[in-house]
């Protein structure tokens, strides 16, 4: 199985599309850093303009933590669109290329093929989030240094500098779980068809529709909202509350894990029963 996973990873990282997500993050995050760096004090005044009347600020508030949190919030909603590029291609790409035949006629089970691809997809997702962490948090701390984190949610919370790093680590770990749901959904769609475009577009469509349902305040939508994975993928933000509500974290993580299991199970079932005609 380890050999199969390494082969799948090798194939993933030999494809150009794999790097689109890394390039996008690699460009956007430094660009945000650069804009804050060039704006200097003006950006800090702008960011905290609503608070300056009530609070007296001391110390380095425009620090790596603050900007990383900002990047995480603004980019996170777009990362699903990057991971589906790889997830949608994992199985359908083999069908399009005709390489299903080469794979399935080897002495490995279909379960092993699917599972190796799934694990490779999870590793890719984790690496993409790790890259986001490096480009936002790593670069932010390098350029702006550390300091207390001012977090805005339903209220303003200021975390001491020594209380922030673990929150970011936990948030990124949760983000991996969230994006794993997305890539597993693309993987499921990928098992159904023989062209990668379909799964990519379908997954994007599902995410957009679910996001829309999540924000429209209608009774019916309110009823189904708790069951939509998009309602739980931002669970990482609970780590920037004080105290952290672990029951909410666990609930969101549980819902996401169930989605992953169902999507993976369905992909496995479909692939196991599939006649390879490509």
């Amino acid at each position: 199985m380890l050999s199969l996973i390494s082969i799948e990873l090798y194939k993933i990282f030999k494809k150009w599309r794999t790097y689109i997500g890394f390039i996008a993050i690699g460009l956007l995050a430094p660009l945000i850093h650069l804009s804050f760096y060039l704006a200097g004090e003006r950006s800090a005044t702008f960011a905290f303009r609503n608070l300056s009347d009530s609070f007296i600020f001391a110390g380095n508030l425009l620090n790596g933590y603050f900007i990383s949190n900002l990047i995480l919030q603004s980019l996170f909603v777009h990362i699903p669109f990057l991971v589906v590029l790889v997830g949608g291609d994992l199985l359908a790409g083999e069908a399009t290329g005709g390489t299903y035949r080469m794979l399935v006629t080897r002495p490995v089970s279909r379960f092993e093929i699917i599972t190796a691809k799934f694990i490779a997809a999870v590793i890719y997702t984790a690496l993409l989030i790790l890259w986001l962490a490096i480009m936002s948090l790593g670069l932010g701390l390098l350029i702006f240094g550390s300091g207390p984190l001012v977090a805005f949610k339903t209220k303003i919370i200021i975390f001491a500098a020594n209380d922030v790093l673990w929150r970011f680590m936990a948030a990124y770990a949760f983000a991996i779980l969230s994006m794993t749901v997305v890539i597993t959904l693309a993987f499921l769609f990928s098992s159904l068809v023989e062209n990668a475009i379909g799964p990519i577009v379908s997954t994007m469509a599902v995410i957009i529709i679910f996001f829309i349902i999540s924000v429209i305040d209608i009774d019916f939508f309110n009823t189904i909202r708790p069951y939509l994975f998009t309602n739980h993928i931002a669970g990482w933000s609970y780590f920037f509350e004080d105290p952290v509500d672990y029951s909410k974290v666990l609930k969101d993580a549980g819902v996401l894990a169930i989605h992953i299991a169902v999507f993976y199970g369905a992909a496995l079932y479909i692939f196991s029963k599939k006649d390879i005609l490509s």
Binding site: G97, R101, T105, D275, I276
Partner: protein, 306 residues
């Protein structure tokens, strides 16, 4: 079951919605056979090959390979099979070498540089080992397909149209390689091909299927020499011979004539009798050539004339 039997298919059927692609097919392949698998387009050849390789699940029937049921011993069986299914497709963004290395690793076989280069040399691609497959012609992919099929030294080699896209020299090389694998290495080769002359040259046994059903199965010699043969008789004096024949029971068998050649449709056992008649009639016979190409036989079978 015969211990030397490599493939034993019984009652194999595959139904795709409204279409029965393979219908109650039986076939038997023995160790060392170069087994020709013939049929017109849409006869069910590819579907059968895909079922033999577990790409497609049969609707009913049984497949035993190396005496083991495919459904239960899939992994053990596939370990001993090398195959090209229809056109050979590879990871186009990887080199020929890397493709073989990855496929070899999945097969848990020797993927040392020596072994991979040996296979590439065997199919004449050693100089392009580092080229990405997307730069390969169809013929080169076909050769690489053969290399991947042989990489893990399988006992049974299933080849679906292995010479498609090759030039005449390449076709001959592949033919020679198949014969070498069969005769020198004792491999069993299951060969599906549209090039009937190729099958006629290299196959020892064959089956012709049509509309998903086996029409005939047996040795190539046995099948080609059964039924009605086209026999060419070359004589010194065709005019006199024709008048003799027209007055005899052989007139019905005589199909046509051209120059000194007379063409008969005869059963194999009638040939000595015709020869005897001509000799006893003092007709000098220069040659008596029973001929039936596989193409003639194939068309006769698939068009339902035999």
């Amino acid at each position: 079951m015969n211990s030397e039997q490599v493939i034993e298919v019984k009652g194999l059927t595959k139904q795709f919605k409204d279409v029965k692609a393979v219908n109650n097919l039986d076939l038997n392949v023995f160790k060392g056979d170069v087994f020709g698998f013939l049929g017109p387009n849409g006869a069910g050849k590819s579907t059968t090959i895909r079922m033999l390789l577990s790409l497609i699940k049969p609707t009913s029937g049984s497949i035993k390979i190396f005496g083991m049921p495919l459904e239960k011993k899939r992994r053990d069986i596939l370990r001993k099979i090398g195959a090209i299914v229809e056109k050979p497709d590879f990871y186009l963004y990887l080199s020929a070498y890397k493709n073989l290395e990855l496929l070899g690793k999945i097969s848990e076989t020797d993927t040392s540089r020596n072994r991979i280069m040996e296979m590439l040399e065997l199919v004449g691609l050693e100089k392009r080992y580092n080229s990405k497959v997307k730069t390969f012609s169809h013929g080169m992919k076909q050769r690489l397909g053969l290399a991947q099929a042989l990489l893990h030294d399988p006992d049974l080699i299933i080849l679906d149209e292995p010479t498609t896209g090759l030039d005449p020299q390449g076709m001959k090389e592949i033919r020679d390689l198949i014969l070498h694998l069969s005769r020198e290495k004792g491999k069993t080769v299951f060969l599906s091909s549209h090039i009937l002359s190729e099958v006629e040259i290299i196959a020892t046994r064959m089956i012709i299927i049509n509309k998903g059903t086996a029409r005939v199965e047996g040795t190539v010699n046995g099948l080609l020499n059964s039924g009605i043969l086209k026999v060419t008789v070359r004589v010194e004096d065709p005019a006199r011979t024709l008048s003799l024949l027209n007055a005899s029971r052989w007139a019905d068998s005589l199909e046509s004539h051209a120059n000194s050649d007379l063409f008969f449709n005869l059963k194999k056992e009638e040939i000595p009798a015709l020869n005897k008649f001509l000799v006893e009639s003092n007709v000098p016979v220069n040659a008596l050539i029973p001929m039936r190409s596989l193409e003639d036989y194939f068309l006769a079978i698939t068009e339902g004339k035999e």
